[in-house]
Chain length 214, copies 2
DNA sequence: AAATGTGAAGTTGTTCACAGCT
DNA sequence: AGCTGTGAACAACTTCACATTT
């Protein structure tokens, strides 16, 4: 599991509920493609792997959206969650560090479908031939701050080596980034108002390792 | 953040504490390479990005390991956490689905340093030339169950498309896998005793998206 | 003096039980 | 009748305050 590090500014919806809203959204999209118009909390909760009471509690943070005796309107709920999460419009994202993992993420088509677009990638070795065939242009680090500012980008994916991650984080924050998805295995120090989500694969494996011991 | 889905069998240490133990381990390793012998809860907590009281509470699940007035012995604490997490011996892991992300993970050197070894990878398209240059052999799916059994593998990384993820999960569970690190964007249904950790990059981005809205 | 270990208090998140719509 | 919405009970987690040890 990744971990949230900094506290948000507007904090009305609990962190874990926000996370689950994303899961619900995915389930709703599947229902939509099955042409279903309404869904009960019981059915949606089952698809999302949670209890129906928890789903209903989560949804009350969005207001009263269901119809008693009937359930929830799939389209309406889906639109409301999108709006709440801020994913109704395509969010521009930059990616820094085009190594194995960074390149894999650039090639991943899922982001576009989910409402995000990696508008540019950056790497120390930009300009060399090794980045041919990627769907996104790779720019030198000197272009990082100007492009963040020019495109009003607010989110960055960090797939750089741990040794330089803090320095890169400082740069993107100075340029106006307020959300960082960090793959480097270290704890980033950032200003209060910047949000960092960590994804650390070794930690996920260690976590499994503990729980599968008999 | 990834999310833990199934409840563990032996549950003495709280989930979140187990997660943080991994973080502490990384910080301790850095201290070790700096040749420090002891560390205070204050210093280690700061490095890990948590409060010192929380660190001490977490460590009490391992027993009384510190020395009052002095701090913790770096080597001893590191060894104890490794033992607790089950990462003192190298854990064999299989990876299924050698697409962009799967291949990137195979090339990632970090796992070995962290106590895991990907012993084999599997893909429908094994045998074709496209997997040349990877550090691990890619086998056809027909070899999956036999190899899991032969090497007593208990952990699997799933980097397959969502459409086939449940089917592959069924296969690895039938072969004896009890821990799954799932990158496919869907909720896997597995037996009670199997542990699933999910890593979903789109959800992490959506989560950031919500919290950076002013 | 300096730092750990821990019961108790406080906070957050989950589940229950059932009232209230349609 | 069926299903949502929600206060209240419950459980998990975090922080505090301070006793305890070196």
């Amino acid at each position: 599991m990744s971990s949230v590090v900094k506290k948000p500014i507007r904090q009305n919806i609990p962190r874990k509920s926000v996370y689950r809203l994303s899961v619900y959204l995915r389930c709703l999209n599947r229902l939509k493609s099955n042409l279903l118009q309404t869904v009960s909390s019981e059915a949606l909760a089952h698809a999302a792997g949670v209890k129906s009471t928890q789903l209903r509690k989560d949804l009350t943070y969005l207001g009263q959206i269901g119809t008693r005796g009937r359930g929830y309107d799939v389209d309406q709920l889906s639109a409301l969650i999108n709006e709440t999460l801020g994913t109704n419009s395509l969010q521009p994202v930059v990616l820094i560090g085009v190594g194995n993992l960074g390149a894999a993420l650039l090639r991943y088509r899922g982001f576009g479908e989910e409402g995000f677009r990696i508008v540019a990638a950056f790497d120390l070795q930009a300009g060399e031939g090794r980045f041919a065939g990627l769907p996104v242009a790779v720019h030198p680090m000197s272009k990082l701050a100007p492009m963040i500012i020019e495109h009003s980008v607010r989110m960055a994916i960090l797939t750089v080596p741990a040794a330089v991650a803090q320095e890169v984080a400082n740069q993107v924050v100075a340029a106006g980034i307020t959300g960082i998805l960090n793959f480097a295995p270290l704890v980033l120090t950032v200003p209060e108002e910047v949000m960092v989500n960590n994804v650390n694969l070794a930690i996920e494996l260690e976590n499994l390792s503990y729980f599968i011991q008999e």
